[in-house]
Symmetry: C2
Subunit: 325 residues, 2 copies
């Protein structure tokens, strides 16, 4: 199987790594400077962390090649993944360069976090193959993919996309209705705006907001999400009771949500400075490794809980023993 | 040491459990029906899960008593925690019932998620002892406490509060400025509103939104928060670069944030029904146990990563052995 990866930044590189480590051959098309070394870094990070999520060994890695042209990359591909920047004209131009029938009827998937598939597909001759498959950074570890077809996407393409993504160890979610920014980024954007207000108004620093999330509701959400957590908060009286209680608060002037914060130079400086302090000298690579190790630890822990701790302890021990001998 | 717990619902009960399991005597004042049995359930849940966060044994449990009056509960208390419902008049009435000097100069802490401490303290003779200590459900497991003094709160009371909360294994965050809903609930409220829109507009079900959080950004936040995750996303170019990229999107009409959703009967029914489907017959108690076991697993996993896995494996094994023999 061959995946064509168009655009190899953080997201495209993450896709490349996930395909490679699941045994696919990968052809990259990214003419930008430094693409090759960035890609190498992402693939190395994936090699360090992804196999630790599995009890069984992954298949042999596929082969990685760099294509000189987009046409070369997509030739004979079973999956085409576009992850260039959020520039609608650029994306449309690249789709138009895909020769009709290249890769047979392989899905043409966009990593866009913002655009609707029908917007991407305007004027595109192969619209029946195009859909949004929006992943989450780091793509090689986080399983969610928002799968959003347009009305012109063929049903068989959506089915095929779900099947391929599951085979890559991912959790594809078929989104019911296309809207700008799909589901996750709407939620993220809501919280992000409020966080910007809190920093701008001097209520909290970036580090304090991160602490609130890490030691407060973050661990609740990581394992259960928003609604199921609230279901518990409602107690025996249930979700209706909880909503009835919580309802009036929605009308209180609690948040600044009804305004959009201006991302002034001053606010950018404040956030960047606080973020520097928070990192305490750790490089982005160090933070990245810390994040990946934490994610692996969380996913393994949740799995261990599901399977019963004893069995997993045995496997962890066996693995540790094999690593130290 | 003695803690007086005024109001023993989910939050008050969680406080009671945390104090008890850290060796404090606890006096409860809650005249509502069923308070006693609800409290027993929370304390049992805490006994099952909290000790698993620690490598060393916790101190012997303190004694639990039920006070017939508020005055009896606060008599000789070293900490007074009020966790009644978000009813300003009720809270103020209860504070006024605390005899001047009862419990010497013990902090009088409110669990309010919404009110500012200066609002709570209006007209209160002992305002120098009053502050907000807002915890997160389940209080016996989640470590964050937002500590918010008013201008009238004595500095020594704030210091004492920080010290006591740390001794209970918590992570008190001293909030810089009092605002309605402090920090966490402003963030939560922002996301909650957007989630309500998504359900109302039929874009996603409650279960799908929870999946998006659990398999997407939730695990990222649980271990690193919002800003540090974005710092990594910015790559070597750093936070300024990331913000500059992300900035324009703030102005896009992505979210429905500029409106407040109406929590109509129809929307309440939709959410409650979807939430029922999502729970698939699990009772709130079962969900609660699942949540607690998951939280313990996540916290232990992150700790294990910090300490090196080998050492922790040894301790886990020893614990398992001692449990099965």
């Amino acid at each position: 199987m061959k995946a064509a990866i168009i655009g190899a930044g953080v997201i495209g590189g993450g896709w490349a790594a996930r395909f490679l480590l699941h045994g696919w051959d990968v052809a990259i098309f990214d003419p930008s400077a430094g693409a090759r070394s960035r890609l190498r870094t992402v693939v190395e990070a994936a090699r360090r962390s992804l196999p630790r999520l599995y009890d069984a060994a992954l298949p042999d890695e596929g082969g990685l090649s760099e294509a000189a042209t987009l046409g070369e990359a997509v030739e004979g591909a079973d999956w085409i993944q576009e992850s260039v920047s959020e520039d609608l004209a650029l994306k449309r131009r690249l789709y138009a360069e895909i020769p009709v029938g290249a890769g047979g009827d392989a899905p043409i998937a966009s990593s866009t976090s913002g655009f609707k598939p029908s917007t991407l597909a305007e004027g595109f001759a192969q619209a029946s193959r195009l859909l949004v498959c929006h992943p989450f950074n780091p793509v090689y570890l986080l399983p969610l993919v928002e799968v959003v077809p347009s009305e012109r996407t063929a049903a068989a393409i959506v089915d095929r996309a779900m099947e391929v993504l599951e085979s890559l160890g991912m959790r594809p979610l078929r989104v019911r209705r296309e809207i700008d920014a799909h589901i996750a980024d709407r939620l993220l954007e809501a919280m992000w705006r409020e966080a910007l207000w809190l920093v701008r108004d001097g209520v909290a620093t970036t580090g304090e907001i991160d602490a609130v999330i890490r030691y407060g509701f973050g661990p609740r959400w990581a394992q259960m999400g928003l609604f199921e957590s609230y279901r518990i908060a409602g107690g025996d009286a249930g979700m209706r009771h909880f909503l009835a209680q919580f309802g009036p608060a929605l009308q209180w002037p609690w948040s600044r949500l009804t305004d959009v914060p201006e991302l002034s130079d001053e606010l950018i400086e404040t956030i960047a400075r606080q973020s520097d302090e928070q990192a305490a000298g750790a490089s982005v690579q160090e933070l990245e490794q810390r994040r990946d190790a934490n994610l692996v630890a969380i996913f393994r822990a949740l799995k261990a809980r599901d399977q019963g701790v004893g069995e997993v302890l045995n496997r962890m021990e066996a693995r540790l023993t094999s690593q130290t001998t």
